[in-house]
């Protein structure tokens, strides 16, 4: 690193800060009483100072001022890495599940609520990951299948009193059917065109849910949905089987945990099968994949439908947990949110998507006090991520081994 390069950094930082001020001013400075600079400046100087400090640290690091710390730290990190890679992935998976399973024993209602939300989005993210991360199709309307799943269980439960466990596969199937219908017409399209079609489809779905008063009760939503039930041993007089409703948050927590485990295992196995390889081949080069014997149209449709099935399952759970569904929950913003999780975490990587869901659901909850600036920070973080780490937080690693080493 040379002096001119350092200077260049400071100039870009300066320009960036002026630009930020121009952006912030209309956001914070326009008051009913008129324009005001003080409140903008108040926020701005903190950010500017923080960024300057970070740049200063970065340059010190580049210049080698931190070698005395970073060298042993690097060595420790390296040995940690080799130690962790000694333990197979399956062990980490089991440890992770065990820790998650313990949360309701220690955490309060609020934390459990957030955790359940997180896990719903993990399911959604993993489902979308099949479509976007593996098969490489941009789907902006994924939330429609979540909605179809939710409404399928809601209506079956309210109208026919069907049990959650029966409705779960039905919901997945209905979402898959919806995906098949839309996919059959649109899978010939690629890239941007497909994105627009799926976006349109999601809006149509939402509009139908919103306007079909006789079936869905329109914007008022469906109420009176049953929670999942379960037969459990009752020891009051001998041992009998008793039907209980899983209404308590800590009980329903385990239902979604099971769903998450199932989804992770299913997606992992799909990814490492003949079908997952075909999907990835399509993502890499559709024409070459077709010439190498992959029926691309059929495989893309399969990816779209199986992704939708996981979304439908998550939807059924959502309906069972809220015991109320309305079209408002299935807006484009939700689609964008799920897509952001997949992209932020790392396309095609299961741990990445899980991390992405945690980051986008849990972090905003932790920083509740800064709710006002949430979207601002969210946008900023996404921009920075795409600039500096476009492959995502935990990009997918090639795990297929030849088994020699």
């Amino acid at each position: 690193m040379t002096i001119p390069e350092f200077k260049k950094h400071w100039t870009s930082l300066g320009i960036g800060m002026v630009w930020l001020f121009i952006l912030l001013w209309p956001l914070l400075g326009i008051k009913p009483e008129g324009l005001e600079v003080a409140s903008t400046f108040n926020v701005w100087w903190r950010i500017a100072l923080g960024c300057s400090f970070l740049l200063f640290l970065y340059q010190l690091n580049k210049a080698g001022a931190f070698k005395f710390i970073s060298r042993p730290a690097g060595a420790v990190a390296g040995s940690m890495k080799s130690a962790t890679s000694m333990v197979p992935m399956a062990v980490w998976f089991v440890i992770g599940i065990a820790c998650t399973a313990l949360i309701p024993q220690f955490a309060g209602r609020y934390a459990q609520d957030v955790a359940i939300n997180c896990m719903i989005y993990v399911c959604l993210g993993l489902g979308l990951n099949i479509v976007v991360g593996l098969a490489g199709m941009l789907d902006l309307g994924y939330i429609a299948f979540y909605g179809i799943g939710a409404y399928t269980y809601a209506l079956l439960s309210v109208q026919f009193q069907l049990s959650f466990w029966i409705c779960l596969p039905i919901s997945a199937g209905m979402a898959g059917l919806g995906a098949w219908l839309i996919g059959y017409c649109s899978m010939r399209m690629r890239g941007d065109y497909l994105a627009i079609v799926t976006l349109g489809f999601a809006e149509i779905c939402r509009m139908v849910l919103n306007n079909w008063m006789s079936l869905t009760n329109g914007p008022n939503g469906v109420t009176g949905i049953k929670a999942p039930g379960l037969y459990w041993f009752d020891f009051t007089n001998g041992m009998t089987l008793e039907h209980i409703w899983l209404k308590k948050l800590s009980l329903i927590y385990y239902v979604i945990l099971i769903l998450v485990v199932f989804t992770i295992i299913a997606v992992y196995r799909l990814q490492h099968s003949r079908i997952g390889r075909a999907w990835e081949a399509i993502r890499e080069d559709e024409t070459a994949a077709e010439v190498m014997g992959v029926p691309t149209f059929y495989m893309k449709l399969l990816a779209y439908c199986s992704g939708a099935c996981f979304g439908g399952m998550a939807g059924a759970f959502y309906a069972a947990r809220m015991r109320f569904v309305s079209p408002e929950s299935f807006t484009f913003l939700e689609s964008a949110m799920v897509l952001s999780m997949v992209v932020l975490g790392g396309m095609g990587s299961i741990p990445g998507v899980i991390l992405g869901a945690l980051a986008l659901i849990a972090l905003p909850e932790i920083f509740r006090e800064f709710e006002l600036y949430r979207m601002l920070v969210f946008g900023g973080v996404m921009t920075l991520m795409m600039l500096f780490r476009p492959q995502g937080m935990l990009p997918s690693k090639r795990t297929m081994r030849s088994g020699k080493d």
């Binding site: 295992i265 299913a266 196995r269 799909l270 099968s273 003949r274 079908i275 997952g276 390889r277 075909a278 990835e280 081949a281 890499e284 080069d285 024409t287 070459a288 994949a289 077709e290 010439v291 190498m292 014997g293 992959v294 029926p295 691309t296 399969l302 199986s306 090639r398 297929m400 081994r401 030849s402 088994g403 020699k404 080493d405």
Partner: protein
């Protein structure tokens, strides 16, 4: 020259024409690839050589004529169905699955020879596990054939150029073809690599696979091809053995201009 053991699949092109709008890319091309043969398809740039490959593999549909393989017409078949019939190909500009490992690249080619479905994959049924083992075994076999077994776990895009060429051939071979179409396999290879390539092509032929190749490197073409077909502006101007072609006035004119 190498002598192949034969399979019975014959490839015939009957008066194949391809038209893109007003451009006649191929005009009534007629030739055959008989069992055990290595045939070269040559011609100046833009002669329509790759178009011939694209018509045979179903990437383009012929506007006239018929492609017949192993006694059945290939007309109207999708590329994956053509592969299932036993015709595999490589591409002029390497088209590997860049972010997949060499092994995975080759494993993809077994797709049409295997049949495990989505439920089999999710529940890892015993038959699925067995099939996966077989796919891997078969893929490793082809990697060994291409002398790439040490690079099995490398991501395809990180391989050197010559290795990527070989990997593409390995991928094509892993689909158990009876005919392989090689589109400029020697492009960008140094002399040592292209003589290795010639050996590889002979070995492929010895395995009983018919070879049709497009190639500009005359040393390779003249060295291993038993017959040549020459195209110019979509028209077949000559066919015959290498000695005849070298003396053919029409060919000389096409290459050097009048």
């Amino acid at each position: 020259m190498c002598i192949g053991m034969t399979n019975m699949a014959e490839l015939h092109l009957h008066d194949v024409s391809v038209r893109f709008g007003g451009l006649q890319a191929l005009a009534e091309v007629n030739f055959s690839l008989m069992p055990g043969e290595i045939v070269g398809l040559i011609g100046p740039n833009g002669a329509g050589k790759t178009t011939v490959f694209n018509v045979i593999t179903g990437v383009y549909n012929a506007s006239g004529g018929d492609v017949e393989y192993d006694g059945a017409s290939l007309q109207g078949l999708k590329p994956y169905q053509v592969l299932a019939k036993g015709i595999a190909r490589t591409f002029q500009n390497i088209r590997l699955f860049q972010n997949m490992t060499a092994l995975e690249n080759v494993m993809v080619a077994q797709h049409s020879r295997t049949g495990c479905g989505i439920l089999g994959a999710i529940f890892r049924t015993p038959s699925q596990k067995l099939e996966e083992e077989q796919i891997k075994e078969r893929a490793m076999e082809e990697l060994r054939f291409a002398e790439l077994e040490d690079f099995a776990d490398e991501v395809a895009s990180s391989l050197p150029y010559g290795h990527q060429r070989r990997l593409e051939i390995a991928r094509a071979l892993a689909s158990d073809p009876t005919t392989i179409l090689l589109d400029e396999p020697a492009a960008g290879l140094n002399p040592a690599e292209s003589s290795e390539l010639m050996e590889t092509i002979c070995k492929i032929s010895e395995r009983g696979i018919n070879v049709l190749m497009v190639e500009h490197d005359m040393k390779v073409v003249m060295g291993i091809c038993q017959r040549l077909v020459v195209l110019d502006h979509g028209v077949m101007i000559a066919k015959g053995n290498p000695e005849e072609i070298q003396k053919n006035p029409a060919v000389i004119e096409a290459y050097l201009g009048s």
